[in-house]
C-alpha cells in the first residue's frame, strides 16, 4: 500500500527580492534554521543533522561555479526564487506491491510536489530483493543502510555548491537498490511532478550491486500546482554507484514548465567492468544548470552519455559534464547535441580528465549545436586534461552550424515540403538520445514532445523558417 502523508508546509513570509548579480544564488532560504527545522519536523536522527550541517558549511563556503574554466558563463539572473519556499515534511513511501504499476514497467515511484502519489514494484522485482522507496522511509525503516548511503555524501561532487545544498536541505528523496546479481528486465520509472511555486530539494540514489542490471527512467514533469508566472525550483542530485560488472541504463527527460528553475547534480561511481549509459533530454524549464560527474574508478569500466537540449524562447540550459578516468582501460563516450530556436542559450561544457593511473583510456567528447535563430547562442567548451599519454584514444570534436542545405535539398527533391524537411532533419539530429531511452512509451512521448516543441516554435516566431 502506498502511504500518503498530508503536507504541512512551513510557509516563509514573502521576501522582497534583493538586487542580484549574474552568479548570485536566486534565493536566501538555505540556512541553519531551515536545516534544523527539517531535522526536527521530520524527526530525523542526530547523525543526519550532523551530515546536513556539514553539507551546509560546504554549501556556504563554495562558489557557485567551482571551475575556473566556466566562471564567465554563470548566469542565474533568469531565476528569482524568493517566493519559492522549500518543503519540509513530505510523503514517505516504499513500493510494497505491484498495484498501480503500468504495463512494461518493473517499478514506479511518483512524487507529486510534497506527496508520493504512486509507489509500486513488480512482484518479481520485490522477490529478487529490489527496493524502491523514498529516503524518508529508508531513514525510518532501515537506519543502518540509510546511514551507510547518506552520511558523508560520498556520491556528491565535493566542489559543487548546489549538490551540497541538496545534501543539506533535501526534503524528498528516492532510493533504487538492486542487489548483487539481480537483473531487472523492465525499467523502473521515477517521476517528479513539480511546478507549484515552491522549492523541491531532493536526492535520488541508485545503487547496483556486483553484476546487477537495471534501467531507470527519470521523468521531470509539471504538477497540477503550477501558477503561471510564479517561479518554482527543483534542486536535485542523482547519486549512482555501480558495483563490479553492474550495468545501468539511465534516462532522464526534463519537460518541466516555463517558470521552473532546475539545478541538477549527478554523479556516478562506476566499478570494475561496470557499464553506465545515460540518455538525457532537456526540453523544459526557464533555467537549467546541470552537472554530471562520471568517475570511471574501476578497471575496464565504461560510460556512454548522450544528452540533447532543445531550447526555445528565453530558455537557458547550462550543462556541464566531467568524466574522470581513473582505472585502467576505461572507456568514455560523451556526446551533447543542442538545437536552439528564438533567444535560447545553451552552454555545453565538458571536461575529460585522464589521470596518471588511467592507462589504456579511450575517451571521446563531442558537442554539436544547431542554431536555428539569429538571436540564439550556443557555447561549446569541450576540454581535455591528460596526465597519462598511454591511451587508446583521447579526442573531442565540436561543431555548430545551421541545417545542412544538402540534406534539405535531398529531402525536398524527394517531394517533402521544406517545413517538413527541416523538421525531419532537426528531429533526426536529436534522435540518438530518443533511441537510447530504455522504455518505448517514454521514447514515444519524447518524440512527441520534441515535435510539439518544433511545431510551436514554427508557429510562434517563425524563427525556425529563418534557417
Amino acid at each position: 500500500m502506498t502511504e500518503i502523508v498530508e503536507p504541512s508546509p512551513v510557509d516563509a513570509p514573502p521576501v522582497k527580492a534583493p538586487r542580484r548579480l549574474r552568479a548570485d544564488l536566486p534565493f536566501v532560504f538555505a540556512d541553519r534554521v531551515l536545516v534544523e527545522t527539517l531535522v526536527a519536523e521530520r524527526r530525523e536522527p542526530a547523525w543526519l543533522l550532523e551530515d546536513r550541517l556539514a553539507a551546509l558549511a560546504l554549501f556556504e563556503a563554495l562558489p557557485v561555479e567551482s571551475s575556473q574554466l566556466y566562471t564567465p558563463y554563470v548566469d542565474l539572473r533568469a531565476a528569482s526564487l524568493d517566493g519559492a519556499a522549500p518543503y519540509v515534511v513530505t510523503g514517505a513511501a516504499a513500493a510494497s506491491s505491484s498495484s498501480g504499476l503500468p504495463e512494461g514497467v518493473a517499478g514506479l515511484l511518483e512524487i507529486d510536489e510534497d506527496v508520493v502519489s504512486v509507489a509500486a514494484l513488480s512482484d518479481e522485482a520485490r522477490a529478487a530483493g529490489v527496493r524502491l522507496l523514498t529516503l524518508g522511509e529508508l531513514v525510518a525503516t532501515d537506519e543502518r543502510l540509510a546511514r551507510e548511503l547518506l552520511a558523508g555524501g560520498a556520491l556528491i561532487p565535493v566542489d559543487e555548491k548546489l549538490a551540497e545544498l541538496s545534501r543539506a536541505a533535501w526534503s524528498q528523496g528516492v532510493l533504487v537498490h538492486v542487489p548483487a546479481g539481480v537483473r531487472v528486465e523492465q525499467p523502473i520509472v521515477v517521476r517528479w511532478a513539480v511546478g507549484a511555486p515552491r522549492s523541491v530539494i531532493g536526492r535520488t540514489l541508485i545503487v547496483l550491486g556486483d553484476g546487477a542490471e537495471a534501467s531507470v527512467v527519470e521523468e521531470l514533469v509539471t504538477s497540477g500546482g503550477v501558477i503561471s508566472g510564479a517561479q518554482a525550483m527543483l534542486c536535485a542530485t542523482t547519486e549512482i554507484r555501480l558495483g563490479a560488472h553492474a550495468r545501468l541504463a539511465m534516462a532522464s527527460l526534463q519537460e518541466t514548465g516555463p517558470d521552473q528553475v532546475v539545478f541538477q547534480q549527478r554523479r556516478a561511481d562506476i566499478g570494475e567492468a561496470a557499464d553506465l549509459r545515460w540518455a538525457l533530454a532537456q526540453l523544459g524549464a526557464r533555467l537549467v544548470r546541470s552537472r554530471v560527474d562520471n568517475v570511471l574508478a574501476g578497471d575496464r569500466s565504461t560510460v556512454e552519455q548522450v544528452e540533447i537540449v532543445f531550447g526555445s524562447s528565453d530558455q537557458l540550459h547550462d550543462l556541464t559534464s566531467y568524466t574522470r578516468h581513473v582505472g585502467r582501460d576505461t572507456t568514455g563516450q560523451l556526446m551533447s547535441k543542442g538545437v536552439l530556436m528564438d533567444r535560447a542559450r545553451t552552454y555545453m561544457k565538458g571536461l575529460i580528465q585522464i589521470e596518471k593511473t588511467a592507462i589504456g583510456t579511450d575517451s571521446y567528447l563531442g558537442e554539436f549545436g544547431m542554431n536555428l535563430s539569429k538571436a540564439a547562442r550556443a557555447v561549446a567548451i569541450p576540454s581535455l586534461e591528460i596526465d597519462q599519454p598511454d591511451c587508446r584514444r583521447a579526442a573531442h570534436s565540436s561543431s555548430v552550424g545551421p541545417i545542412d542545405e544538402t540534406q534539405l535539398f535531398y529531402l525536398e527533391s524527394r517531394g517533402i515540403a521544406p517545413d517538413d524537411a527541416r523538421k525531419f532533419i532537426v528531429l533526426g539530429f536529436l534522435e540518438p538520445v530518443v533511441a537510447r531511452v530504455p522504455l518505448e512509451e517514454a521514447q514515444d512521448r519524447l518524440r512527441e514532445a520534441l515535435e510539439a516543441k518544433w511545431d510551436a516554435g514554427l508557429a510562434g516566431t517563425g524563427a525556425a523558417t529563418a534557417a
Binding site: A378, V379, A380, C391, A395, S398
Partner: protein
C-alpha cells in the same frame, strides 16, 4: 649518449650568456608612480604618453592577478627593474654600435642573417632599440621600420591614431603593466598598396638579471599592402625569474595581408606573458605563426578580431613544453563582421614533466553572418610525467555559422619508432623525426632559414631530454 649531450649543451651555451654592460640609465627595482614618470622623462615623451602610462599604471594596481592559466605566484613584481637603457642613442650604422653589444649580436648571428637576405633588422637589447636598419629600397617606397620610441617622435600622427586601439591599456593586468612601462619594440608602417618583398625581422633579447622586458610593437599595414614580420628571441639563463610582458598590436586595413611569425625561445626562468592582437578590416588577411619552445611559463593567445567583411584569420601555434615548463598557449578568433573566415591549428608536445595547454576562443558575434571557422588541436605526449590540456571556448551567436573543432591527444606510437629503427635510425633519431613531422604544419610556413633553425631547436630540446 653522454657525448651527444655534451655537444647539445655546448650549442645551447652559445645562446645563454650574460655580458657585463654598463647601464647608463636604469630605474630602481620595483614599480611606483615615480618609476613610470621617470621612464617617460628619460624618453622625453609628449605629455599625452605620460598621462596614458599613468592611467595604465592605476589600472594595473586595481587589476587582480589572473587565477587561471599558469602559476604566477612566484613573480615578485618588486624585484624587477622596469627600465634600463644600454646606450644613449639609436645607432644607424653597424660600425657605430658599441663593441660589447655588437659581440652579443655576433653570437646571435644577426648581421649575418641581415647580410644574406633579410630586409631590415631592429634588435632589442634589454629595453631599448640600439640597432636598426632598413634597406634603402624599403625607405624609398615609404616603409617605416624603426624602434617604437623613435616612431613616437618621428611619426606622431600614425602613432597616436593606432597606439593602444587594438590592445587597450585596460585589457588585462599585464597589458596594463606594459602600457605603463613599455619601452622598445618595433614600429612598422607599410603604405597603401606596397608589398614588402622580404620578411622584416627583429631579435629581442633580455639581458641582466631581473630585467623586465616590456616591449611594445605596433604594425600598421595600409590598404592593399603586404608584409611579413618575424621575431625570434633567446635569453641568458639565470636562477631568478624574469618577466616578459609584451604587447603587440597589428592593424590590417582593407585588403592588406600581414603575417607575424614568432619563435619564442626564452630561457627557462622567464615568465612570458604577452598580449598579441590584430584588427583585420575588410578583405584583409592576418596570420599569426607562433612557436613557443622556451620560457618557464608562457601565457599567450594571439588574437584576431575580424572587423571587416570578408576578412580572413589564420593562427598556427606550436608549443614544446619540457622539464619545468608550462606552455599555456592558443589562439582567439573573434568574428565581428559577415563572411569572415578563421582557421586555427595548434600542435603541442609535452615531455619530461612539462605541461602544454591549448586555450582558445572562437566567438561569432550577432550580425556576423556567413562565418566559417575551424579549430584543430593536436597534442603529443612523450612520457607519462607530462601533461596536456585542451580548453577551447566556442561561442556562437549566429544561425548560419559553420564551425568545426577537433582535438586529439596521443603519444609517439611504438610501431612508428620500431619502423624507423628498422630502417637504421636510433631511437632518439626516430622520435625526433616523428616530432618534427608532427610539427611540420608550422615549419613549412617558415622561411627556409628559420625552418632549419627551428628544426635544430626542436632537435636540441629532444636530445636534451633523452641524452
Amino acid at each position: 649518449m653522454t657525448s651527444t649531450r655534451d655537444l647539445v649543451q655546448d650549442e645551447r651555451d652559445q645562446f645563454a650568456f650574460h655580458d657585463d654592460i654598463v647601464y647608463l640609465a636604469q630605474t630602481k627595482r620595483g614599480l611606483t608612480r615615480d618609476t613610470v614618470e621617470e621612464i617617460s622623462r628619460f624618453k622625453n615623451e609628449p605629455d599625452w604618453m605620460l598621462q596614458y602610462r599613468l592611467r595604465a599604471y592605476e589600472h594595473f594596481l586595481k587589476r587582480k592577478m589572473p587565477t587561471w592559466g599558469g602559476r604566477l605566484a612566484d613573480i615578485d613584481l618588486d624585484k624587477i627593474v622596469y627600465y634600463r637603457k644600454p646606450s644613449e642613442r639609436e645607432e644607424k650604422s653597424w660600425d657605430d654600435v658599441p663593441e660589447k653589444i655588437k659581440a652579443t649580436f655576433e653570437k646571435l648571428g644577426i648581421p649575418e642573417a641581415e647580410r644574406k637576405f633579410l630586409a631590415g633588422v631592429g634588435a632589442q637589447y634589454d629595453s631599448e632599440v640600439v640597432y636598426h636598419s632598413v634597406r634603402e629600397e624599403l625607405s624609398k617606397i615609404g616603409v617605416v621600420f624603426m624602434g617604437t620610441d623613435q616612431a613616437l617622435k618621428e611619426y606622431p600622427e600614425i602613432f597616436r591614431t593606432y597606439f593602444g586601439t587594438v590592445v587597450p591599456a585596460e585589457d588585462n593586468k599585464f597589458a596594463a603593466l606594459n602600457a605603463a612601462v613599455w619601452s622598445g619594440g618595433s614600429f612598422v608602417y607599410v603604405p597603401k598598396g606596397v608589398e614588402v618583398p622580404l620578411p622584416l625581422q627583429a631579435y629581442f633579447r633580455i639581458n641582466g638579471e631581473n630585467t623586465g622586458q616590456f616591449e611594445r610593437t605596433l604594425i600598421v599595414v595600409d590598404e592593399g599592402a603586404k608584409v611579413h614580420y618575424i621575431e625570434g628571441c633567446t635569453a641568458p639563463i639565470y636562477a631568478t625569474d624574469s618577466l616578459h610582458a609584451a604587447v603587440v598590436e597589428v592593424v590590417a586595413l582593407a585588403g592588406s595581408k600581414v603575417r607575424y611569425t614568432t619563435i619564442q625561445n626564452w630561457s627557462n626562468d622567464v615568465y612570458n606573458l604577452v598580449t598579441k592582437r590584430a584588427h583585420a578590416y575588410a578583405n584583409s588577411t592576418v596570420e599569426w605563426v607562433d612557436a613557443n619552445t622556451g620560457s618557464r611559463l608562457t601565457m599567450k593567445y594571439p588574437a584576431i578580431y575580424l572587423r571587416g567583411e570578408g576578412a580572413t584569420a589564420e593562427v598556427i601555434s606550436v608549443a614544446v613544453a619540457g622539464r619545468g615548463q608550462h606552455q599555456d598557449t592558443g589562439a582567439k578568433a573573434v568574428h565581428l563582421a559577415p563572411n569572415t573566415t578563421s582557421r586555427i591549428v595548434s600542435k603541442s608536445v609535452s615531455k619530461d614533466g612539462g605541461r602544454a595547454t591549448y586555450r582558445g576562443q572562437l566567438k561569432v558575434a550577432p550580425g556576423a553572418t556567413g562565418v566559417t571557422a575551424s579549430v584543430r588541436c593536436d597534442a603529443l605526449m612523450l612520457d607519462d610525467q607530462s601533461r596536456s590540456d585542451t580548453y577551447p571556448y566556442i561561442d556562437i551567436n549566429e544561425d548560419d555559422t559553420t564551425m568545426t573543432h577537433e582535438a586529439t591527444v596521443g603519444k609517439v606510437s611504438a610501431e612508428q619508432v620500431f619502423y624507423l629503427m628498422s630502417r637504421g635510425l636510433t631511437e632518439n633519431e626516430a622520435t625526433n623525426l616523428i616530432v618534427q613531422g608532427f610539427l611540420e604544419v608550422f615549419t613549412k610556413e617558415l622561411p627556409m632559414e628559420y625552418a632549419i633553425e627551428f628544426n635544430r631547436l626542436v632537435k636540441l630540446e629532444m636530445e636534451g631530454s633523452l641524452g
